[in-house]
Symmetry: C2
Subunit: 191 residues, 2 copies
């Protein structure tokens, strides 16, 4: 590994946000998954939880995810399990969802430990999941079409989270625990 | 047309922003073009200029664009012509581009007449175009990967433009000239 490469990996690890995460709840188109994971890397997310749809899309989706090196994608069976687990760790779980009781995405404090849940391309977030999370958040729509592409919605909300965290200095000093930091440094650098 | 449909079309036209536009400079993957045009609709953009790459991608790209009903996609041959034309109308042309003299995207005043230019998936914005525009703007990257997907970059910048314009009441009263408003009302409603 060149010194430049080593520096770049350390710089990235120094900016990783262990308390910001994404749950893809049934997102299955490979180009959407790829774009979401790429955006997660760019805003400093370490872990993504992927609940794959229970049908043949599973395979295609699995492929796109394997290609991701800088973000750990954890395959999960039930989104409600992931939600409860994160809530148990004190994480606020937000669903990107156009519901009546949703608040606008810029009204949220993303400097709190936060997980953002995204729904499927076709059916969005289920009622069960929408009520299991702490808050539904929505991006205002000014046009004829009723929703954004899911990777676009993810990016709009995560870029706001990134700005809030930048303003508070969250990217200015390492936030990942030492053991995990060194494990990732090894894996990214040499594996 | 039902009264509800008519109302919905009028509401959308009342929020259209004739002085906000996008230039796709060689973007050619159909799912990216589709996602960008869908985002344009959602933030109230009326017109998009598409400079198609000069090769076989032209056809695929052309297909994705024909499917767009609520945003007018103008096919153009040369991006420098579009840039000069818009500048001649007093529009600030911004290129989404990671260059040394770029400023951060949230530092821009998007309530001015604005065009946002996006580069190709593979090669980005050419040097010629980067120096023809008024300003290069960049979205900070905190990770290992060096750029966002192009439709994601478009959405992040356009959602900031949308927020600024919402805060200034730009969506609260009709801004499209009467003749064009009625032409679009007819086309969307009956054609
Ligand atoms: C294409 S949308 C799903 C549309 C689906 N027909 C529905 O009604 O929910 C896919 C996902 O993108 C996210 N999304 C899209 N537009 C959004 C918006 N304006 N606000 C919040 N989330 C949005 C949500 O997570 C949604 O489940
Ligand atoms: C995939 S990128 C092109 C990457 C290309 N290798 C380059 O160096 O420009 C496609 C387009 O998305 C936009 N884009 C992607 N990431 C961006 C960022 N961080 N800031 C501004 N624009 C970005 C730009 O318009 C770019 O031309």
């Amino acid at each position: 590994m060149t010194p430049e490469r080593y520096r770049r990996i350390c710089d990235t690890l120094d900016r990783r946000q262990p308390d910001l995460t994404v749950i893809m709840d049934g997102v299955h188109k490979p180009h959407n998954i790829a774009a979401i994971v790429r955006t997660c890397d760019a805003v400093g997310i370490l872990d993504v939880h992927a609940v794959l749809p229970k049908n043949r899309a599973r395979m295609a989706a699995g492929t796109a995810m394997g290609s991701q090196r800088w973000v750990q994608v954890h395959k999960r069976d039930e989104s409600t399990d992931v939600i409860r687990e994160l809530q148990g760790q004190g994480v606020q779980v937000l669903a990107a969802h156009l519901s009546d009781d949703a608040i606008e995405y810029r009204q949220v404090d993303y400097t709190r430990p936060t997980a953002l849940l995204l729904g499927t391309e076709k059916f969005g977030v289920s009622d069960e999941v929408a009520s299991a999370v702490d808050q539904n958040v929505t991006i205002p729509m000014m046009g004829m079409v009723e929703s954004f592409n899911v990777s676009v919605a993810a990016a709009i909300i995560l870029s706001e989270a990134c700005e809030q965290r930048r303003a508070k200095g969250f990217y200015d000093q390492p936030r990942v625990a030492a053991a995990r930091y060194h494990e990732l440094l090894f894996r990214w650098g040499y594996a």
